[in-house]
């Protein structure tokens, strides 16, 4: 049986974990959700994945309330969740029951309605054509504002590899914009 002191310590640890998890959610939920929305091209999925990311963070904090969870950790978790989703979706795309919203052209329509921004539409259409690693590199650097070396740390690769992925993503973006203007 736990002593009173141990129980109080446990309570403090739980309260501390909750408080730190809440601060993380308040500070980063919008950024992470937007990042994931750009990555997967579907707001509902992005919200689901965002929840998963913060749930993982909460579990880690519950296990060790003193653990330091940096924004980089959150973006790494979000990137991994996004990449996993995109790879799953790629497999599911062979099935005819693919959801309408997940197709690039449908995604164009969806984004035109809620953002009214041609730039945004172009970006989303281009992102839908990228492979998961390229999309992650482009979004971490140009969207989340990380340098290539920081993004490399998040993605577990080298800065040169990140620059190369950004370049290839940019090439796809460029050709998408060209198609849009033709």
């Amino acid at each position: 049986m736990k002593s009173d002191v141990e129980a109080c310590r446990g309570l403090d640890a739980t309260a501390l974990a909750q408080s730190r998890a809440e601060s993380l959610v308040l500070a980063y939920q919008t950024k992470i959700a937007r990042f994931l929305r750009r990555m997967v091209g579907d707001a509902e999925v992005a919200l689901d994945l965002t929840q998963d990311v913060f749930l993982s963070a909460y579990r880690l904090l519950a296990a060790d309330p003193r653990r330091e969870l940096t924004p980089g950790w959150l973006y790494r978790a979000a990137t991994n969740a996004g990449i996993s989703h995109l790879r799953r979706k790629k497999i599911l795309r062979i099935l005819p029951l693919d959801r309408e919203v997940d197709r690039p052209c449908a995604s164009l329509r969806t984004w035109r309605v809620d953002e009214q921004s041609v730039a945004s539409v172009d970006l989303q259409a281009a992102l839908a054509r990228l492979n998961a690693d390229q999309a992650a590199a482009l979004l971490l650097t140009s969207y989340a504002g990380y340098s290539s070396s920081e993004a490399a740390g998040i993605l577990g690769t080298t800065a040169d590899a990140v620059r190369q992925r950004v370049c290839r993503a940019m090439r796809t973006l460029r050709s998408t914009m060209r198609e849009g203007t033709e």
């Binding site: 959700a33 937007r34 509902e44 921004s117 730039a119 945004s120 140009s142 290539s148 620059r163 190369q164």
Partner: protein, 196 residues
């Protein structure tokens, strides 16, 4: 398609330019490569082209107006999940009712006619009826309408009242044998009194 090492290097330089991380020396190397590689010029574009494309990303980021509402999404999903569960339960109920209706034992034709008093008494003696006799059906007898047979020997007195019952050939179930005998002991055999 195999890409030349210089072109791979140019891709990394273009990435650095796109991210605003390229030094002047790197920009110079990129320009020098484009001057002799038409393919890279076509596919990657010059420095200004790269910057123009990347501005699109910056505009998209700055134009972002979507405000995620995680709690709302969670509540909505919970609602959807609750509706899903309710639908599943309803479907399960319908299925169970349909299956039990379909599997409900059909009353054999010979039992659909009203039972005689003697038959009712005999059936009541079996103690296996599942609902009251007034319904006029011995539903329990129809469960698994397979035929079970047993032979019994009943000794009756001169008034036709059964005195003793022995099982000559068992039905395979001792309880059923006992019930059959109990029913037989409750029966009356008028032909024994009249000698017929």
């Amino acid at each position: 398609m195999r890409v030349a090492p210089e072109c791979l290097s140019a891709e990394r330089l273009a990435g650095a330019i796109a991210l605003g991380e390229a030094t002047d020396a790197e920009r110079g190397r990129y320009r020098a490569h484009l001057a002799r590689c038409a393919r890279c010029l076509d596919q990657l574009g010059g420095e200004r082209e790269i910057e123009r494309v990347m501005i699109t990303v910056a505009h998209a980021r700055d134009d972002e107006r979507w405000e995620p509402r995680l709690a709302g999404a969670r509540a909505a999903r919970r609602g959807v999940r609750a509706a899903g569960i309710a639908t599943a339960v309803a479907a399960l109920l319908v299925l169970v009712v349909a299956v039990s209706w379909g599997e409900r034992p059909k009353t054999p034709t010979h039992l659909r006619a009203p039972l005689s008093a003697a038959e009712s008494r005999a059936l009541a003696a079996l103690d296996t009826q599942t609902f009251a006799a007034p319904a006029g059906r011995a539903e329990s007898l129809t469960v698994g309408a397979s035929t079970i047979s047993a032979s019994l020997r009943v000794t009756v007195d001169g008034r036709g009242v059964p005195l003793r019952c022995t099982i000559a050939k068992s039905s395979g179930d001792r309880a059923l044998d006992a019930a059959i005998c109990r029913a037989a002991l409750h029966a009356r055999v008028p032909s024994a009194a009249t000698g017929r």
